[in-house]
Amino acid sequence: MKLRNYYILLLLLFISFKSFSQTSATEYFITVNGNLYIPIKNPAKGIYPILWYDKETNPKLLIGGLGVGLSAFRPLENKVSLKGGVNISKHTYWDEPIQLVDAGGNNMQLFVAGSSDLAVGITATAHYFLTEKISFGTGLGGQILLATLSRLAEFNDSRSSIGVHHYYKRLMPTLPFEVSFKAKKTLFNIRYEYGLLNRYKKDIAAYKKDKFSLLSFEVGLKLN
């Protein structure tokens, strides 16, 4: 299905929900998330842990994907709710290895760094409640990339070990799948988001492929 048709279908879906909606209070939650970037289309990258200790890496304490955000549930029909969410998160992954070579062309070592994308994530999903508290939903989402930070190899003549590249598209539409557990004051979400387009932009997109793929674990506290 073309992306435009998908947008139109979702728009019609949300409009139809609105017409059947009941006047129930919207519930708002403040959320924190831990996330794992899963590079399913780029085997050169690897999954970085959310929180771990590894004596063989530098730094030894590995802190991966984390974020904060807001979520809202708006009841529509009997077992259906509309859920909106926005978050600002850091997505971290082991980046593609870089072969370091001296001036004479001799290979030195392979450098593997943990790289991070800082992005604003937005999701709009229709949730179906299997029980009073457990629901699953899907809809449409988007990732607005703010920055990509890549650690560079440290050398005597380098002042900073953080480099920035802009290979990736600024806006990435995503397809979210979500399972939620909503109690009186708390909310738990497990959400997977899959990018609908190649992440690379401009000329390089013809030669390299990468898909946005993110698994998030979210905990929320009710605000109202």
Partner: protein, 148 residues
């Protein structure tokens, strides 16, 4: 003994598990016990919190040395000029492309000999990562170059 291969793949964290029939039965029993705990709503937040912090593959990707015979970029990191050496294993044509930090095309060369040298001038370019891609009729070779 009857065994069931259970295959789990997460990019670079690829592992094989072999479970015996007894182990599967024990796992089912354990799952029933866990499901009882899950029904207790006070336990669920603890379980989920633990899952959040402990989930993830901690294995740093195992890097296999690539065949540097085909594409060599040096020095890496580079200050101003990078030298690109291309060797193909036959005399078929190839294209060599280099991309800047924003994904823009910086170098576009077509080679027909089995060994050639190119120069990538990055002296007026911002520091960051640059991609050099060698495309042959059979495969692509990619090298990442760091500009300091």
């Amino acid at each position: 003994m009857y065994t069931t291969p259970f295959y789990s793949s997460f990019s670079n964290c690829t592992k094989y598990f072999y479970l015996t029939l007894d182990e599967i039965k024990n796992s089912v029993k354990k799952f029933r016990i866990i499901s009882i705990f899950i029904r207790m709503k006070k336990i669920l937040p603890i379980l989920l919190s633990g899952f959040i912090f402990l989930s993830g593959c901690n294995d740093k990707p195992e890097v296999q040395p690539t065949n540097t015979f085909d594409l060599q970029v040096y020095p890496n990191p580079v200050i101003d000029k990078a030298f690109i050496s291309v060797r193909t294993q036959n005399t078929s044509s190839f294209t060599l492309k280099a991309f800047g930090t924003s994904g823009e095309l910086l170098l576009d060369e077509i080679g027909i000999q089995d060994q050639q040298q190119f120069i990538l001038n990055l002296s007026d370019k911002p520091k960051g990562k640059y991609q050099v891609i060698l495309k042959t009729d059979k495969s692509n070779f990619t090298k990442t170059v760091i500009k300091l």
